[in-house]
């Protein structure tokens, strides 16, 4: 907790130069000083403000998890494995073409399509593969564009930069597809509305992505360039354990790398993250272990529930119950991430009461580290 005003200097000292930056993009695109470029946060000039929104919204500066939870759900932060939720289920697009193009069940693509088609939102802020396969932030305004952005390449993308660039006079209603750290940054923005940039009240739907870790675009992209003919690659995939592979698919076939080799490009900051299932999204989406072509969906808020209902009603999305072993495994994995991360953090600071950026109720910490 701090009462001292903090701005870009502290952001650089405490987060970026300290190796905590997740490249979420919350600090860039909103001012002329901080920009994201090829996997780095770059300071173009010195801002002269002592206090800045860049520091305030960063998900790796102090986060009062309880305050965030209260604002998002009206409930305290409990530290439950999957966070606050209304429903957990399986879902997939009813359109085979969409499923083929997208990751797993194509649920994210479908939800966005429905939201656009039904006029719930006017645009979706997502990550998109650029020509050289580095993911870049993108604002999609049609279902075709949304489909075009489907798929993942597992590299961090500063998607929030595109959110920040929406002009403050814009009245467009927005959807956002975001990783857990990005959802946390957005939750901070909802707690303290941003000034001189996008009206955060226009963000109507946040679709969260399950995330264990992300790869550094800086290092991993170089690896890809050196080992693949990138323009030929159609999509990437990390199949579920025990495959231990990173796959790249071209028209002619598949090239795989041992996951161990790829893991060296995991951003070190991911080891300090407690959130596997994007606990502060409206609806969170991930894969289903052992069941190809389906997504696990966690519905958390009214907005999440509404878009799921509309998707079902439109016939574009089919849902099913999530088998209990899958749910159990999911909770296990999520809990494991929390515990590992807390141990890392406490190990780094030497104390359970100094958790770097995390403001957790003491009871939660003790329970998780018991």
């Amino acid at each position: 907790m701090t009462t001292k005003p903090k701005g870009y200097r502290e952001l650089l000292d405490e987060v970026i130069d300290a190796g905590l930056c997740t490249l979420c993009g919350a600090c860039v695109g909103a001012c002329p000083y901080l920009v994201a470029y090829k996997g780095r946060i770059v300071l173009l000039d010195n801002c002269n403000l002592a206090e800045g929104q860049c520091y305030l919204y960063c998900p790796r500066t102090y986060v009062d998890m309880d305050a965030i939870s209260q604002k998002t759900f009206g409930l305290p932060y409990t530290g439950d494995e999957l966070g606050t939720m209304r429903e957990v289920l399986m879902a997939r697009s009813t359109d085979a073409g969409t499923r083929e193009r997208a990751q797993y069940g194509g649920t994210v693509t479908t939800l966005l399509s429905v939201a656009l088609a039904e006029g719930l939102v006017d645009a979706a802020v997502v990550s998109k593969d650029s020509e050289d396969r580095v993911p870049v932030p993108y604002v999609a305004r049609s279902e075709e564009e949304v489909l075009d952005c489907a798929g993942s390449n597992y590299m961090a993308c500063p998607v929030l930069e595109a959110l920040n660039r929406v002009p403050r006079q814009s009245e467009e209603r927005l959807a956002l597809v975001a990783t857990p750290c990005q959802c946390l940054a957005v939750a901070k923005m909802k707690l303290n509305s941003p000034e001189n940039r996008v009206d955060i009240g226009n963000l109507k739907l946040t679709v969260g992505l399950f995330c264990t870790w992300a790869l550094s675009p800086d290092g991993f992209h170089r690896f890809l360039r050196e080992n693949l003919d990138l323009p030929q690659v159609l999509r990437f995939d990390i199949p579920p354990p025990p495959a231990e592979r990173f796959d790249a698919y071209t028209a002619s076939g598949r090239t795989s790398f041992p996951l161990k080799q790829v893991r060296q490009f995991v951003m070190s900051t991911c080891a300090l993250c407690l959130d596997m299932t994007a606990e502060f999204a409206d609806v969170s989406v991930g894969s289903v272990e052992g069941i190809e072509g389906w997504n696990t969906v966690v519905v958390r808020t009214e907005a999440g529930a509404e878009v799921m209902e509309r998707a079902r009603a439109s016939g574009k999305l089919e849902t099913a119950a999530l088998p209990s072993e899958n749910l159990a495994h999911l909770k296990e994995a999520a809990l494991l991430k929390k515990v590992r991360a807390l141990k890392q953090i406490a190990g780094r600071t030497g104390s359970r009461s100094d958790l770097l950026y995390l403001g957790l109720p003491a009871g939660v910490v003790d329970r998780l580290l018991a």
């Binding site: 001012c31 206090e51 001189n196």
Partner: protein, 646 residues
């Protein structure tokens, strides 16, 4: 500019020192003048070029000072009176040719070198006194103490040079060169000589009429003979005089600009009957008998000069050689600390020194008023730093370079050079430039940095130079970079002008000094002929320029060139007299000091056309200063600055 070729002998005209020098050359019958622009010398060639056609003479802007002097010498070798003028750095550039020229002789024409120094480096990279080169190289040297002497000395030096067959030098400083005073005109010559390079063996002279510095001992001895002849003439020169009492409490020995300062200081102190002034115009070789004669007037001698203790040391050499029983005065000046050994002087400095030597008070101003003035002015007078003009392409270029270097992230280095863009050392160019020395120095240094990869060096290197600088000095260094495979990017700032010195033409502009159209030399053609990759950017296209520079830095390994091409705004607006855009800040969109802007346009970009309205907390356009280039509209993070085509 005044008309220096007015045919009105005996009338008085208001000339700046440089115009008076040019007039003196005309009255001497100069036929050939060459120079490279350099403050404070540029107006000499500027004014000669403006009258060249009707005066029947030839005036040339040369590619650099070395060629200018060599060309002038060539004319003198063929019997035509010639002159080369330059600033202090130019004298450095010509030094190798100059020392050899003293040994070869300058022929039958008459050759004058004018060197204009810039004490306090008001418009220079360095401060330097060029007078010692006369002593070093054995060159007769004169320095004018008034505007009349600028004319009269220049004229006389041609005669001296022709008679002795050696180059003669006139040294001036900014406060004479650029100050304006009354000059009484002399007659202009009626006809020019015929040029002819005489190759016939002259039986009277030891060597045939060829210009070579060998055999060197003989040549050196001959140079000393010429100097001795000059000294004899200087002993009775009308350019040296004494004012004051026969016996003085203090003898001031001075020359050049300091003559008038000393005169005023003595007047202000009311010491005309106690302090004498020996004003010397012939500085090297020193007329020793003359000086010896005056040294006896006082027990105290104060030597006043700009910049180095050149005269002081020469006079002290004379004093050291006085017979043992002669009275030896006490010397004051730079050695004693009474006069600064750096920076320019003024009447106050001389007044303070004089008063100190005589243990008097020096006060030119009412003490009470002085206190009040310091208080009121001290509190209310903010600094006024130099910067790029509004609309200057360099501001946009360095903005793009700054962003490209930051995005690249490898701590790239910019090596700098001489021109308006030298200001990129400071806030005007966002503190981008890291080294600055002389013409062509930037790309020279880049050649070194560009070969350090084997020592683990991985920082990108950008060398900046102007278009005129490119022709002056950068080409050999670029060839070196290609031949030795150095890794750097030469950024040529092509604003189609030699801007800082007054918009003189150069080989790239396609116009000569006298306004004739000629083939323009293409910078990119030269680069391509060297096999170098060349990109051409418009600096006003900030995004395009930034990404071109970024790409070039990423694609390293060899010397490459990017030309930033956009005309100097002062040249454009003088010709077109219109503004391309009407630029406005929308106060409803401007967020000023708050998070999301933090005054980027006024605090960081700093174009003088953008001002800060403290009360409203918004930026604003100063419509008198703004030239309507519209670049600021592209940097405003909120889109508050708009540009409308006019």
């Amino acid at each position: 500019m005044a008309n220096i070729d007015i045919d009105a002998p005996g009338t008085r005209q208001l000339f700046i020192g440089n115009e008076a020098i040019a007039r003196g050359a005309l009255e001497a019958g100069v036929g050939f003048a060459a120079a490279y622009p350099g403050t404070p010398s540029s107006e000499i060639l500027d004014s000669l070029a403006s009258v060249a056609d009707r005066a029947g003479i030839y005036a040339q802007w040369s590619v650099n000072e070395k060629v200018a002097l060599e060309a002038a010498a060539g004319a003198s070798f063929a019997g035509i009176r010639a002159m080369a003028s330059m600033k202090q750095n130019g004298v450095n550039v010509v030094s190798d040719f100059l020392v050899n020229l003293v040994m070869t002789g300058s022929g039958t024409g008459g050759l004058v070198l004018v060197g204009c120094d810039d004490p306090s480096a008001i418009s220079s990279s360095n401060e330097q006194d060029t007078r010692p080169i006369a002593k070093w190289f054995d060159i007769p040297l004169l320095e004018p103490g008034s505007f009349q002497e600028c004319k009269d000395m220049t004229k006389w030096l041609f005669d001296l040079s022709e008679e002795l067959g050696t180059i003669c030098m006139l040294r001036s400083v900014t406060r004479i060169a650029h100050a304006r005073g009354v000059v009484k005109l002399g007659e202009l010559p009626k006809a020019q000589r015929r040029a002819f390079f005489d190759q016939v063996h002259d039986a009277r002279s030891v060597m045939p009429t060829r210009f070579m510095p060998v055999p060197s001992s003989l040549r050196h001895a001959l140079a000393h003979v010429k100097l001795q002849n000059a000294r004899e003439k200087f002993e009775s020169s009308p350019f040296n005089w004494y004012v004051g009492p026969d016996r003085a409490d203090l003898l001031i020995i001075t020359g050049g600009s300091c003559w008038l300062y000393s005169l005023e200081a003595v007047r202000a102190l009311g010491l005309e009957d106690r302090v004498g002034i020996l004003k010397l115009g012939t500085l090297w070789p020193l007329p020793e008998k003359l000086v010896e004669g005056h040294l006896g007037r006082s027990q105290r001698v104060l030597v006043v000069e700009e910049i180095d203790p050149f005269l002081e040391r020469s006079v002290m050499e004379v004093a050291a050689a006085l017979p043992p029983d002669s009275p030896r005065p006490v010397f004051y000046g730079k050695r004693s600390g009474h006069i600064n050994a750096y920076g320019e002087l003024n009447p106050d400095a001389v007044g303070k020194a004089t008063a100190a030597v005589l243990s008097l008070e020096y006060q030119t101003r009412d003490v009470e008023y002085g206190k009040k003035a310091n208080e009121l002015a001290g509190a209310n007078v903010p600094q006024r730093m130099m910067t790029f003009c509004p609309g200057c392409a360099h501001r946009a270029t360095f903005w793009a370079i700054k962003n490209a270097l930051k995005l690249d992230g490898r701590q790239g280095i910019v090596t700098g050079d001489i021109g308006c863009y030298s200001m990129a050392l400071g806030p005007a160019g966002f503190f981008q430039v890291r080294t600055m020395h002389c013409m062509g120095g930037g790309i020279g240094v880049a050649n070194g940095l560009g070969k350090l990869a084997q020592f683990g060096f991985d920082q990108p290197v950008l060398a900046v130079c102007g278009d005129s600088t490119f022709f002056h000095a950068a080409i050999p260094a670029l060839i070196n970079g290609v031949y030795n495979e150095a890794n750097f990017i030469l950024v040529v700032l092509d604003n189609s002008a030699t801007a800082m010195t007054g918009f003189q033409p150069h080989p790239g502009t396609g116009v000569t000094a006298t306004g004739q159209e000629t083939g323009a030399v293409s910078i990119e053609a030269i680069c391509r002929a060297l096999g170098v990759d060349v990109a051409v950017c418009d600096p006003f296209d900030l995004a395009g320029t930034t990404s071109t520079v970024l790409e070039m830095m990423a694609d390293g390994g060899r010397a490459r060139v990017v030309i930033m091409r956009r005309e100097c705004e002062l040249v454009r607006s003088h010709r077109e007299k219109t503004k391309p855009y009407t630029v406005r800040v929308d106060p409803d969109i401007c967020v000023g000091e708050t998070c999301g802007c933090a005054r980027l346009c006024t605090r960081v970009f700093r174009c003088p056309g953008l001002i800060w309205d403290e009360e409203a907390g918004k930026a604003r356009i100063d419509e008198v200063i703004c030239t309507g280039c519209g670049v600021c509209a592209d940097i405003c993070p909120q889109g508050a600055i708009t540009k409308e085509a006019t």
